[in-house]
């Protein structure tokens, strides 16, 4: 495979010169609705064979489809998030072909009037660059069953095909892109970007191994400079079907590019074909040529009425649709924006939609709470607390969501309450250390208010005495001088260079204040006290 990689590298390098690779994708993603697109049967990976089959899924005579509203909602969400136009009336059609795992003899799909048209996704193509991939359309359609072939057994090499209809009729979104990609790696990166998006939005599991995300690539080559995206300027394309890993996507594209260029170099034409890919040898092979093009005899689906969506419906979905991670990161890290988070922190916040939502809610709650005190709240401090302390503590206390840690937290851990706590920290009323301690207690089930929790964990020492918050800076200074006076041996060692002993002085200060002192303030005061000590 090193040789293959080397050859690929050569091809890619040569590609740089005179030839340009043009790739478009067709992705099929199973929609994470509980039931199938047109029947009430469950959608469930790995169920017992033919356990989830309603009469409609088996195409029993007289059975009729009934549109799954949840699938429509999720497809709409995907379209909204990708910036597509949601069609107020989309229509289903029948696409006819005969195959044993297609019980009706047709697939119900939306070719002419899809639910979404247009949209885009920005693909990270390395070195901080992105490629904008335009989306042609997104359509709802039903999945087929699975044919399981078993060869041999009885000797003579006969093949037995059995059919599992568990998958038959599950809702798919088919995403068709424009040919905007320029190589195999880009194609793989684009597929990965779609996978992340589908998962982020909760539209689908998008698991390539389980087949809940399947990718076809359309590949062609053209001489650099032929330019333009209209079909006339594109070379003849081949479609490679059913690629089931990102690696296969990249390899299949590279193989096709080489093949096309070799054909052209020999003076031959690239024929429009549908091809399959063998991951074992990294090669594609023809499935059917242009002359074998299937006549799908598209007809309107008379059993399913048009899906008519009101403006209110689409607006409500748009409201509930989380911002895509790449969009959110750009916004949160924008130095001229409201957040101006460091890129790494913005990325951590935007990993999960729920985390980003939580952070923004906690930040505004903290600002609301701090405003009367005329204190500024630092967005980065809130972000750090949310992705660091909070996420850690909810996991530790086992109240975190299974996939999204900050989804569905109990009311005592609401962004409003955490915002109040962070406002107290910003105002200097509570130290970060006390806040963390209180958070741990509340995460573990303490239902009391912050002040009570904090006071229970860090009992106030008397006003003015030894550095408690009532005493102010003077009290802290006094306490620190007292500590330095009371530990002459340690002070001597410290001055002799054993600076690690500062920890011991700070520890003593924290002990005396029941942990309420701010270690930073204390350590500054101690430094001063030590320098005064002659």
């Amino acid at each position: 495979s090193a040789a293959v990689d080397a050859r690929d590298a050569d091809a890619d390098a040569a590609d740089e010169d005179a030839w340009e690779t043009v790739v478009g994708l067709e992705l099929h993603a199973q929609v994470a609705a509980d039931t199938k697109l047109f029947s009430g049967a469950a959608r469930q990976y790995g169920a017992r064979v033919n356990a989830n089959v309603a009469p409609f899924d088996a195409a029993l005579p007289g059975s009729l489809p009934s549109v799954n509203a949840r699938a429509v909602e999720l497809a709409t969400r995907l379209g909204v998030a990708l910036g597509g136009e949601i069609h107020r009336a989309s229509r289903f059609e029948r696409k006819h072909y005969a195959y044993p795992d297609l019980p009706h003899g047709y697939q119900i799909t939306q070719r002419r009037d899809p639910i979404v048209r247009g949209g885009r996704i920005d693909v990270d193509v390395g070195a901080g660059a992105t490629r904008r991939l335009r989306i042609e359309q997104i359509q709802l359609e039903m999945d087929t069953g699975k044919s399981v072939n078993k060869t041999g057994g009885g000797g003579g090499g006969t093949t037995t095909t059995t059919i599992d209809l568990n998958r038959a009729g599950c809702a798919l979104v088919e995403i068709v892109t424009r040919p905007d990609l320029r190589g195999g790696e880009e194609a793989a990166a684009a597929a990965e970007a779609f996978q992340k998006t589908l998962r982020f939005l909760g539209v689908g599991d998008a698991n390539m191994e389980e087949g809940s995300l399947r990718v076809d690539v359309n590949v062609s080559v053209r001489r650099r400079g032929d330019g333009g995206d209209d079909g006339a300027a594109l070379g003849e394309r081949c479609e490679v079907k059913n690629l089931n890993s990102f690696r296969s996507i990249a390899s299949a594209v590279r193989f096709e590019v080489r093949r096309h260029r070799e054909l052209i170099a020999r003076g031959e034409n690239v024929e429009r074909e549908t091809r399959s890919f063998d991951p074992a040898n990294g090669e594609t092979a023809p499935l059917r040529g242009k002359e074998q093009t299937l006549d799908y005899r598209f007809t309107p689906e008379p059993d399913v009425p048009p899906i008519v969506l009101s403006d209110e419906y689409v607006a409500a979905i748009a409201r509930d649709t989380p911002e895509l991670p790449d969009v959110a990161i750009r916004r949160l890290a924008d130095v001229r924006g409201d957040h101006a988070l460091p890129l790494k922190l913005a990325t951590a916040v935007a990993t999960h939609a729920s985390t980003a939502r939580y952070y923004e809610a906690a930040l505004s709650a903290a600002k609301r709470s701090a405003a009367p005190r005329d204190v500024d709240v630092d967005a980065a401090a809130v972000a750090r607390f949310v992705v660091g302390e909070l996420t850690g503590e909810v996991k530790r206390a086992s109240v975190a969501g299974r996939v999204e840690p900050l989804l569905g937290l109990p009311a005592r851990l609401s962004p409003e309450r955490v915002g109040e706590l962070l406002a107290a920290v910003a105002a200097g009323e509570t130290t970060a250390r006390m806040a963390k301690g209180a958070l741990r207690a509340v995460a573990a089930g303490d239902e009391r208010g912050w002040r009570d929790v904090v006071d229970a964990l860090f009992p106030p020492v008397g006003d003015g005495e030894g550095g408690g918050e009532g005493g102010g800076d003077a009290a802290v200074e006094a306490m620190c001088r007292d500590i330095v006076c009371g530990m002459p041996e340690e002070v001597a060692l410290f001055k002799a260079g054993k600076t690690r002993l500062m920890g011991k002085f700070v520890g003593e200060a924290m002990r005396r204040t029941n942990g309420r002192a701010d270690p930073k303030v204390v350590s500054r005061a101690l430094t001063r006290a030590l320098s005064e000590e002659v």
Binding site: P55, G62, V67, G105, R297, T299, P302, D303, V308
Partner: protein
Amino acid sequence: VGGTSRPRKQAAGGVRRALMSTTAQMSVHATGLAPSGVGGRSGRDRSVFLRKRASRRRVAHVASCSQSLVRSIGDRIRKGETSAEEVTRSYIAAIEGANATIGAFVSVTADDAIAQAKAVDAALRAGEPLGLLAGIPLGVKDNIATASGETSAGSNILSGLKSPYDARVIESLKNANAVVVGKTNMDEFGMGSTTESSAKGATANPWDQTRVPGGSSGGSAAAVAAAQCVVALGSDTGGSIRQPASFCGVVGLKPTYGLVSRHGLVAYASSFDCIGPLASSVEDAAIVLSAIARGDASDFSDATFQNDKSSAAGPAPRDYHSHLKRLEQLVSKPLLGKKFALVKETLGEGVDAGVVGKIVAAAAELEKLGAVVDVVSCPTFGLGLPAYYVLALSEASSNLARYDAIRYGATNTTRSEGLGAEVKRRILMGTYALSAGHSDAYYKRAQETRRLVEIDLNSKLSEYDALLTPAAPTPAYELGGKVNDPLAMFSGDVMTVNVNLAGLPAVVVRAGTVMENGATLPVGLQMVGRPFGEAELLDVAHTFEIATFDAVNGDWAFQGV
């Protein structure tokens, strides 16, 4: 196509003039009825028997009545004068007695029927207030799924198919405590107009056993006509309820597309298919419609997905029968204010003269009842038949793709063996019409034509309460007469298919009989109503039926029991 010319009208007087020659042969009963003149009929059972005539071909008896058989039998059950079980047993005996000659039923589920009837009797004994259909024997066309017995749609390829569920209409009728006695014969997958293409053999017309009962719901029509069940369900894609109703002299209602759930109906052409009742009176058809007309979340025939289940559930249940008047309640000129359009093109060339005579006479009866009848031209009329066949066969080729003989029903056969000649012909024609390079010339043009027909008929219905046509261009013809002439068979649907193209409701009622080669044969009048206007349409049809009953039956040479 695309005639925009205004419909040509003839004044009502023109209809009367046209009638002068035909009315004489009818024993026209005085209309403008006085209640006292008809009071004596109310208590009489309307089951009448065809008088024995010289012809040996005629069946023993034909049920027919102008008032509700459902009510009269149901009343006797509820009063305890008889029991549901007794009624059910007697109808099953009638099926067993006549099925060898008529062949209306393909299967009888006697045990289940008697169990259902016994449950009705038990409920009545327990004092439960059961509805009108409680204990009423019901025949079900073989393409409507029943969890009991087979559902084979008249095809070998589905032979042995046990449906795991009841069709929505069956659920509704069982909830109304009707008793399903069995499945009735039909043309294979509904493809035919004679019931001869059934894999189970042909059904005979009870009026003359050498003739066809019509189709594809021929079994249901024959079963009602021969009193083998009280009411029956049929399905209508291009006339399959109305034409056999006409051939067998019963009432047939094709509801507005989408009013009755198709859930459980073996699909022929999904954008046309409708389930509807066949009965011996308009009122009985209305009673059945009240039970089956309701929305259904699993059938989007009419409803539009509005991201809201309630609006997707379709029209609310409605009562189509309670407002129907009894004969003695009829005022003079009960149809005063109604306007009907007698469609000119349905009375012209190719239509049997006897049929034209009966329809024109029926129009005259409607005028006597106070209605205005205009002769109106529907310029799109002639376009409907070819457009219908292109679309219906295209949809059929899609719907029947699943019958590959490896999934259900008969799996020891192949498509070529399991499907009949007519079905294969239609699948091939439909596939051709949808194929790349042909679909614009056929399918697309047919869709455009469908729209034109819809616009034309609806514009007529904005002016008229109903359109009047014969239900079929001829009375029932001889068995085997058209089997080898598919085009002649197709053209027999000319009266009915436009109604399906436009999705409108239509009811067929008796307009009298004609004599043909010594046989007395019924002729049906088709009344086409406005979308979801079944209540008004059935009201008019019922008024016509009860007011003209004697006239029509005098003509039929029936005698009461």
